[in-house]
C-alpha cells in the first residue's frame, strides 16, 4: 500500500496549475518575488518541465496570489486559464472525452495524481448525479478558493463542450453568502446557493450523456494511457483525509477506531492525532462528517426510514441518531426531507 498524499508531498498537477496562476497574477501587475515568498518555489523552478510542487507550497502560493491580486474572480479565471492551457494533459483529456459522464469517470480514475486536493465523491439520486466536494488534505484556509477552482473547472468543461448548457446544473456551497454574487453569475451562469451543509454540484442525468463538441475518442484513449503511465511512475496516492473517510465509511456500521486507522497508516494513534491537527480536523469530526454525509444521502436520495439509517450508521437506537443529526445540521431528520 502506498501512503496517502500529504501536504509535504509533491505533484505534477500542482506545478502546471501554479504556472497558470502565476502568469495570470503577473499580467495583473503582481510582483513575482512576493508571489513566491515563503513557498520554496524559485523562479528558476518554474521554467523546468515536470517540476513538482508540494501541496503546502501551492497553498501558500494561492494565499500570496489572493493577497497580491485582490479580485473576487481569481479562482474562476485560473480555471479558465488552465482549461485553455494545451500543456495540461489531465484537463485536455477531460475535454476530448465523448461526454460528461465519461469525463467524470476519467476524472475520478486519475484524480490521485492530478487533483489531489479535493475529494469528489459521487452520489446518485433518481433525478441527478450529485458530486460532493471535500478537502482531501488540510487546505490551510484556502478551502473556498480550491472549491471554486474545482467547480469552475467542471462548469468550464460543460460550457465549452456542451455549448453553455449549464441549466441542468445546480451548485451548493458551504461558504456564507457574499454581498456581491455577480462573479458567480458572470462566470458560472448559475446562481449557487450558499450556507449549504456540504459543497455539492448536482448534474441532471440527461446532461451526462450529451456528446461533447470536442470529443475525440482516439486522443482521449491516448491521453488516458499517458496519464496512467505517469501516475504509475509517480504512485497513485489519494489525500490523507480522503483515505481516512473511505476507511471509516467502509467500516460502518462499525466505528473505525483511532488506533485501527493509525495502524492502517503504520503510525501510532498519537501521531495520527498530531497529523490530523496539522490538517485542521480532529478524528471525531472526521467520523461525524462521514456519518452525516451518509445519513444525508440515505435520507434524502434513497428515502430510507430513520430507524434503518440509524442502524446503518451504527447508532444504538433511532433517538440517538436523531439527536446526532440535529447536532450536525441544526435540524431534525424530518426537516431535510424536502418534497
Amino acid at each position: 500500500m502506498t501512503a496517502p498524499f500529504d501536504s509535504e508531498d509533491k505533484c505534477l498537477w500542482l506545478a502546471s496549475s501554479c504556472q497558470d496562476l502565476i502568469a495570470l497574477c503577473l499580467r495583473r501587475d503582481a510582483d513575482l518575488n512576493r508571489l513566491l515568498s515563503g513557498t520554496r518555489i524559485f523562479p528558476a523552478n518554474l521554467a523546468v518541465e515536470h517540476h513538482r510542487i508540494a501541496a503546502r507550497d501551492w497553498l501558500n502560493l494561492v494565499r500570496n496570489c489572493r493577497r497580491q491580486v485582490p479580485v473576487d474572480d481569481l479562482a474562476f479565471m485560473t480555471a479558465d486559464a488552465m482549461l485553455a492551457n494545451r500543456d495540461h494533459a489531465f484537463l485536455q483529456m477531460l475535454q476530448c472525452a465523448p461526454d460528461l459522464g465519461s469525463a467524470l469517470r476519467a476524472w475520478h480514475r486519475h484524480r490521485a495524481g492530478f487533483l489531489p486536493l479535493v475529494q469528489v465523491s459521487p452520489a446518485g439520486s433518481d433525478r441527478d448525479l450529485s458530486l460532493h466536494l471535500r478537502p482531501a488534505i488540510g487546505l490551510q484556509g484556502q478551502d473556498a478558493f480550491v472549491t471554486e477552482l474545482t467547480v469552475s473547472l467542471l462548469i468550464g468543461l460543460v460550457r465549452h463542450q456542451l455549448d453553455d448548457a449549464t441549466s441542468g446544473i445546480s451548485i451548493e456551497l458551504t461558504t456564507q453568502r457574499p454581498a456581491d454574487i455577480e462573479s458567480y453569475r458572470l462566470h458560472w451562469r448559475i446562481e449557487p446557493s450558499f450556507d449549504a451543509p456540504v459543497n455539492r454540484v448536482r448534474i441532471a442525468y440527461p446532461l451526462l450523456f450529451r456528446p461533447f463538441a470536442g470529443s475525440d475518442a482516439q486522443r482521449f484513449a491516448q491521453l488516458q494511457a499517458g496519464l496512467r503511465a505517469l501516475s504509475r511512475h509517480s504512485g497513485r496516492r489519494i489525500g490523507l483525509l480522503e483515505f481516512l473517510r473511505r476507511r471509516m465509511r467502509r467500516a460502518l456500521p462499525q466505528l473505525l477506531g483511532l488506533e485501527q486507522a493509525a495502524a492502517a497508516l503504520s503510525m501510532s494513534g498519537s501521531s495520527l492525532k498530531r497529523l490530523l491537527k496539522q490538517h485542521g480536523v480532529s478524528y471525531g469530526e472526521l467520523i461525524d462528517e462521514v456519518r452525516s454525509e451518509l445519513a444525508w444521502t440515505l435520507l434524502r436520495e434513497q428515502r430510507w426510514s430513520n430507524p434503518r439509517v440509524a442502524e446503518r450508521l451504527g447508532y444504538a437506537n433511532e433517538h440517538n441518531f436523531r439527536r446526532a443529526f440535529k447536532r450536525w445540521t441544526g435540524r431534525p431528520p424530518s426537516a431535510v426531507l424536502a418534497p
Binding site: 474572480d73 486559464a81 485553455a84 492551457n85 462573479s183 458572470l186
Partner: protein, 298 residues
C-alpha cells in the same frame, strides 16, 4: 527607475568630489573647540532632506525634462548644502574667498530650477488627470481598480451610480450602456488566457477613446463592461452602441469571431429611479435573457 538617471547621478557625484577636494585643499581645519555643533546639526539635516528629495525623484520619476529640472535643482542644492557643511569644519582665509562664492551661488539657481520643475510637474499632473477622465469620476480609490484593464470595477460603478441617481435632475436622462464581448470564452479557450487578457485590455482602450469625457467606463467583471453616460438621452446612447458594435470587427482583426454586443438603457423623467443594487441586478437579468429591464418601460 533609478538606472535611467545614472548619468545625472554620476555627474553629481563627480561635482561633489571636486567640491570636497577644493574644500580640503583651500581651507585649514578648525580646532574642535571652534566648531559650532548646533550649526553642524542643522546643516547636516538640511543636506539629508535634500538628498531624500533627490532619492524620491530618482526612484519614482521616469526621464523627461521635468525630471531633469528636478534632479539638477536638487543637485545644486545638495552641492551648496554640502559645501556649507564643510565650512563648519574648515576655515577659509580672506573675505571674498572663491570657496564662499562656490558655496552660495548654486543654491538660488537650484531653487529656481526646482520651481520650474515643480511647475512642470503640476502641468503634467493636469494632463495625466485629463487622461484619467472616462476612467474615473468623483472618487479615487486604487483598491477598486481592476488590475488588468486599469478601469474601475463593479463596486466603483455602484458608488458612481448611487451618486448620479442622487444628483440627477428630472430633466436629465441618465443612460447606461452594457457592453458584452460575445464569444470571448471561446476566444480565451482557443488562444489561451494571455491572449484573452490582452484582447480585453485592447477593447477597454478602444472603447475609452470613443466616448465623451463626461462618461465613465467600468469593468463589470468577466467579459462585461458598463458605461455610465450622465445627461444623455437614450437615442444618443443607442447611437454610440450601434457605432461600437459596427466598428468593432474592423478595428480588431485578430479578435476572430468575438463581437461586441451593446445594449443601451435610460432612466429619465420624474419616475423614481431604482436603487443601484436593483438596477445592477436588473441589468444582469437583462443581459442574460435579452429582455428589456423592468425599470425602462419606454
Amino acid at each position: 527607475m533609478w538606472r535611467q538617471h545614472l548619468p545625472s547621478l554620476l555627474l553629481l557625484c563627480a561635482a561633489l568630489c571636486v567640491g570636497c577636494t577644493l574644500a580640503l585643499s583651500l581651507g585649514q581645519p578648525k580646532p574642535l573647540s571652534a566648531i559650532a555643533w548646533y550649526d553642524v546639526l542643522g546643516e547636516a539635516v538640511t543636506l539629508l532632506v535634500a538628498c531624500g528629495w533627490l532619492g524620491l525623484v530618482v526612484a519614482y520619476r521616469p526621464r523627461g525634462w521635468v525630471s531633469h529640472c528636478l534632479i539638477a535643482g536638487t543637485g545644486l542644492l545638495i552641492w551648496s548644502y554640502a559645501l556649507d557643511l564643510f565650512d563648519e569644519f574648515f576655515k577659509y582665509v580672506g573675505v571674498d574667498h572663491p570657496q564662499s562664492l562656490l558655496e552660495s551661488a548654486p543654491a538660488p539657481f537650484g531653487m529656481l530650477l526646482l520651481t520650474v520643475g515643480v511647475a512642470g510637474w503640476m502641468r503634467e499632473q493636469r494632463i495625466v488627470h485629463r487622461q484619467l477622465t472616462g476612467r474615473e469620476h468623483f472618487l479615487r480609490d486604487h483598491r477598486l481598480l481592476d488590475p488588468l484593464t486599469k478601469l474601475y470595477n463593479r463596486r466603483y460603478l455602484q458608488h458612481a451610480l448611487e451618486r448620479e441617481l442622487e444628483l440627477r435632475k428630472p430633466d436629465e436622462p441618465l443612460s447606461l450602456l452594457v457592453i458584452d464581448v460575445e464569444g470571448f470564452a471561446g476566444y480565451n479557450h482557443r488562444r489561451g488566457a494571455a491572449a484573452g487578457d490582452r484582447l480585453l485590455v485592447r477593447i477597454a482602450e478602444w472603447v475609452l477613446i470613443r466616448m465623451r469625457p463626461s462618461s465613465l467606463l467600468c469593468r463589470y467583471g468577466g467579459d462585461r463592461f458598463v458605461m455610465l453616460l450622465p445627461d444623455t438621452p437614450l437615442a444618443r446612447a443607442a447611437r454610440l452602441a450601434r457605432h461600437l458594435q459596427t466598428r468593432f470587427p474592423g478595428a480588431h482583426d485578430d479578435a476572430e469571431d468575438c463581437t461586441l454586443r451593446c445594449s443601451a438603457h435610460v432612466i429619465d423623467g420624474e419616475a423614481r429611479p431604482p436603487a443601484p443594487a436593483e438596477l445592477m441586478s436588473a441589468l444582469e437579468r437583462h443581459a442574460r435573457t435579452d429582455e428589456r429591464p423592468q425599470w425602462n418601460p419606454a
